[in-house]
C-alpha cells in the first residue's frame, strides 16, 4: 500500500508540474464547450434576403413585414427583377430571395396564393432551414399555398426550441472525456517507456496492475473534475436542461471515463513513443469518435458499412446515455443496454491491456 501511495503521489506531481498537460487537461474542455456552444450553431439569425414584390399592395407589404420581423431575416438588397436577384446571389449579398406574384392579394382571398422562395443552395443545410422558416411564417399568416386538408403540426420534444447547444454539450463532454482520458494516459505511460523509467518500474516489486492503476487513478479523478466543469458550464452558461438524476449522470460519466482510460492503456501497450501514442489517440480515436458517434453526423443516414463500424465506437453509446439523462430525464431502466455495452467494452480493454502488459515482461 505504501508503494501504491508513493506511485500515485508521483503521478500527481508529474501532472501538476507539467504546464502543457494542465492546459490540455483543464483549458481545452472549457475552450471546446465555449467554442461549440457559441460558434457552431444550426440556428440561423439575420440571414440576408431580398424581396421581389410584384404586387405592391397592403397584403404583400404585410407579409414582407411579418417575415422581416421574425428576426431570422434581414433585407439586404433592393431588387426589381429576377436579373437583379441573380446578381445579388452571385455577389453573395443574399442567401434567399422571396418573390411575391402580382395577383397575390386576389389569390389569397380565394385561398390559393403562392410564393416563390429562391435559395442559395451552395450551403444546402442553410437553404433548407431558411425555406422551413418561411414556410412556418407563411402558414401562420394564413398565406399557406396548400389547400386545407391534412395539416401537420410538428412538436419538437425534449428540445423544444431546437437549441443546438443541447446537442453539442453532450457531444463535447463525450469528446473531451475521451480525449483527456485516453490521450493523456497513453502518453503518460509511453513517457515512462521512452525515458527508460519503465524498466526500473518493471524490475521493482510493483505488480503490473499496480503500475497501471497508479497511472490511471489520477487521471480518473481529474477527468471527473473536468466532466463536472463542462456540465456545469453547459447547464449554467448555455442553459442545457438537466431533466434526469445527477447520480445516474455521475455513474454514467464514471463508466465512460473508465472505458476511455482503459482504451488509453491499450494504446500505450501498442505505442513505443509518446509521438506514436499521440497520433494513435488522435487518428484512431478522435476522428472516428467525432465522425461516427452521432455527435455531428447522424449515423442513420450513413452507408451500411459505416453504420456497422459505428457500433464499436464507445462514444456512440455514451452520447445516447447522456442525452437520455440530461434531455429526456430517463434513467438506467431505459439506458441499461447502452451501459452494458460500455461496461463490456471496458472489461475487454482492461483484459487486453493486462495481458499485453504481462507479455512485455
Amino acid at each position: 500500500m505504501n508503494a501504491f501511495r508513493a506511485f500515485i503521489l508521483k503521478e500527481f506531481r508529474h501532472i501538476l508540474r507539467d504546464k502543457r498537460t494542465l492546459l490540455v487537461l483543464f483549458g481545452m474542455p472549457i475552450a471546446q464547450i465555449i467554442l461549440f456552444g457559441y460558434a457552431i450553431t444550426t440556428e440561423i439569425q439575420n440571414a440576408n434576403i431580398a424581396v421581389l414584390d410584384r404586387s405592391r399592395d397592403v397584403r404583400s407589404l404585410e407579409l414582407t413585414r411579418t417575415i422581416l420581423a421574425s428576426g431570422y431575416f434581414t433585407l439586404n438588397a433592393d431588387v426589381r427583377s429576377y436579373d437583379q436577384i441573380e446578381e445579388a446571389f452571385r455577389k453573395g449579398r443574399i442567401k434567399m430571395a422571396l418573390v411575391i406574384p402580382p395577383d397575390f392579394a386576389a389569390k389569397l382571398q380565394r385561398g390559393e396564393a403562392d410564393l416563390q422562395v429562391l435559395t442559395d443552395a451552395t450551403d444546402p443545410n442553410m437553404a433548407s432551414t431558411l425555406v422551413s422558416y418561411v414556410n412556418a411564417i407563411a402558414a401562420r399568416s394564413g398565406a399557406q399555398g396548400k389547400p386545407p386538408g391534412i395539416r401537420i403540426e410538428p412538436q419538437m420534444h425534449y428540445n423544444h426550441n431546437q437549441a443546438s447547444v443541447n446537442m453539442f454539450v453532450p457531444g463535447v463532454i463525450t469528446i473531451v472525456m475521451l480525449l483527456v482520458s485516453a490521450m493523456l494516459t497513453s502518453i503518460a505511460i509511453t513517457r515512462e517507456k521512452e525515458l527508460g523509467n519503465m524498466e526500473i518500474l518493471l524490475v521493482s516489486p510493483l505488480k503490473p496492475l499496480v503500475i497501471i492503476l497508479g497511472k490511471v487513478i489520477p487521471y480518473l479523478l481529474l477527468s471527473m473534475v473536468n466532466v463536472s466543469t463542462v456540465i456545469t458550464v453547459g447547464h449554467l452558461l448555455f442553459g442545457v436542461p438537466m431533466e434526469g438524476s445527477w447520480l445516474v449522470l455521475a455513474v454514467a460519466c464514471l463508466l465512460f471515463v473508465v472505458c476511455a482510460l482503459s482504451l488509453g492503456v491499450v494504446i500505450s501497450t501498442i505505442a513505443r513513443t509518446q509521438q506514436v501514442a499521440l497520433m494513435l489517440s488522435l487518428m484512431a480515436l478522435m476522428m472516428p469518435t467525432i465522425l461516427l458517434s452521432n455527435f455531428i453526423f447522424p449515423i442513420s443516414s450513413m452507408p451500411f458499412p459505416l453504420q456497422l463500424i459505428s457500433n464499436i465506437i464507445p462514444a456512440k453509446y455514451f452520447i445516447v446515455i447522456i442525452k437520455g439523462v440530461m434531455l429526456k430525464g430517463v434513467g438506467f431502466e431505459v439506458l441499461w443496454k447502452e451501459a452494458a455495452v460500455l461496461a463490456g467494452m471496458t472489461l475487454l480493454f482492461i483484459g487486453i491491456s493486462v495481458r499485453k502488459f504481462r507479455i512485455r515482461l
Binding site: N2, A6, F7, K10, R17, G196, I200, V203, S204
Partner: protein
C-alpha cells in the same frame, strides 16, 4: 554452490524461437564482489541480466539471485535487487528528495526508515543545497551518482548496473567507481556491464560473452595471461574476432 555466492547461474539458457540469445552460461558471483559482464552488443548480456532480474523466464537452466530462484521466486528476487540502466532513470520533473522517496516507496520502505535513508543519502552525495531542486537541473554526472545511490536505497543484496557510465566525464567516472567499490566493501554484490574496457580492470572478476556463450570467466589479469595479451582491448578483440 559456495556459501557466500549471491548469484549462481547454472546452464542458464534463453531462446527466442530458433535463435539462442544466451546459451547455457554458468557462473557464480560472490557476496561483495564486483563482477564485470562484458561483451559486444547483441552478445546476450542484456538477455542474461533480464533473466537474473526476474524480467524474463529462462528457457533452460537455473539462476539463483540472493538465494532465490529466478524462475519460481521472481517476486523475492525483485525485492533483493537494485537496477540502474544506461538510460537515465530518475524523473527530471521531481526533486532530488522526491525521487529518492519514490524509489524507496515502491520497494515498500516504511516512512521513518525511508526519510532517514533519504537524508543520509543526500548528505553523502553532498546534495544538501540541491535536495529540493528538480533532478532535471542537475549536471549529468551528479544525476548518475544519484541514480546509483537511489538504486541502493532499499539496501539490495545485488545491484545490476547496465552501462552506468556511458556519456559521463572521466572525473565523474572515477568518483562513480569509488562509490561502486565502497558499496561492494559494504557487502553489496555488483554486476556491471560496460563499454569502457579500462573499467574492466576495476572489477574483481570478469566474464566476456560472445554469441551467447561465456568465452572468458576469471580475474582480469588471469584472463589476460591465459590469452597471452597485455590489455583488455586485446582480450576483447581476440575473443570477439574468433566468432564468425
Amino acid at each position: 554452490m559456495t556459501p557466500t555466492a549471491t548469484i549462481v547461474a547454472d546452464r542458464l539458457t534463453r531462446r527466442f524461437g530458433s535463435f539462442t540469445a544466451v546459451n547455457a552460461i554458468s557462473f557464480e558471483v560472490r557476496r561483495g564482489e564486483i563482477f564485470g559482464f562484458l561483451g559486444a552488443n547483441g552478445a546476450g548480456k542484456t538477455t542474461a541480466i533480464k533473466m537474473m532480474s526476474g524480467l524474463l523466464m529462462p528457457t533452460e537452466g537455473t539462476a539463483m539471485v540472493g538465494g532465490f530462484d529466478v524462475s519460481t521466486e521472481a517476486e523475492q528476487v525483485k525485492r533483493s535487487i537494485g537496477y540502474m540502466s544506461q538510460r537515465f532513470s530518475l524523473y527530471a520533473d521531481l526533486t532530488v528528495r522526491e525521487n529518492i522517496r519514490f524509489y524507496g516507496g515502491i520497494y515498500g520502505l516504511k516512512k521513518a526508515v525511508l526519510n532517514e535513508r533519504a537524508e543520509h543519502l543526500i548528505r553523502d552525495l553532498g546534495l544538501d543545497a540541491e535536495a529540493d531542486r528538480l533532478v532535471g537541473e542537475l549536471p549529468l554526472g551528479m544525476k548518475q551518482k544519484l541514480a546509483f545511490s537511489t538504486a541502493l536505497v532499499h539496501d539490495p543484496a545485488v545491484v545490476f548496473l547496465d552501462e552506468p557510465t556511458s556519456g559521463v566525464d572521466p572525473i565523474t567516472r572515477r568518483q562513480f567507481w569509488e562509490m561502486i567499490t565502497a558499496a561492494a566493501d559494504r557487502g553489496t554484490t555488483i554486476l556491471i556491464t560496460t563499454h569502457y574496457l579500462d573499467e574492466a580492470e576495476y572489477c574483481h572478476r570478469i566474464s566476456v560473452m560472445v554469441d551467447g556463450t561465456m568465452a572468458a570467466y576469471d580475474t582480469p589479469s588471469a584472463v589476460k595471461s591465459t590469452l597471452g595479451v597485455h590489455t583488455m582491448d586485446e582480450v576483447f578483440l581476440k575473443l570477439t574476432r574468433t566468432s564468425p
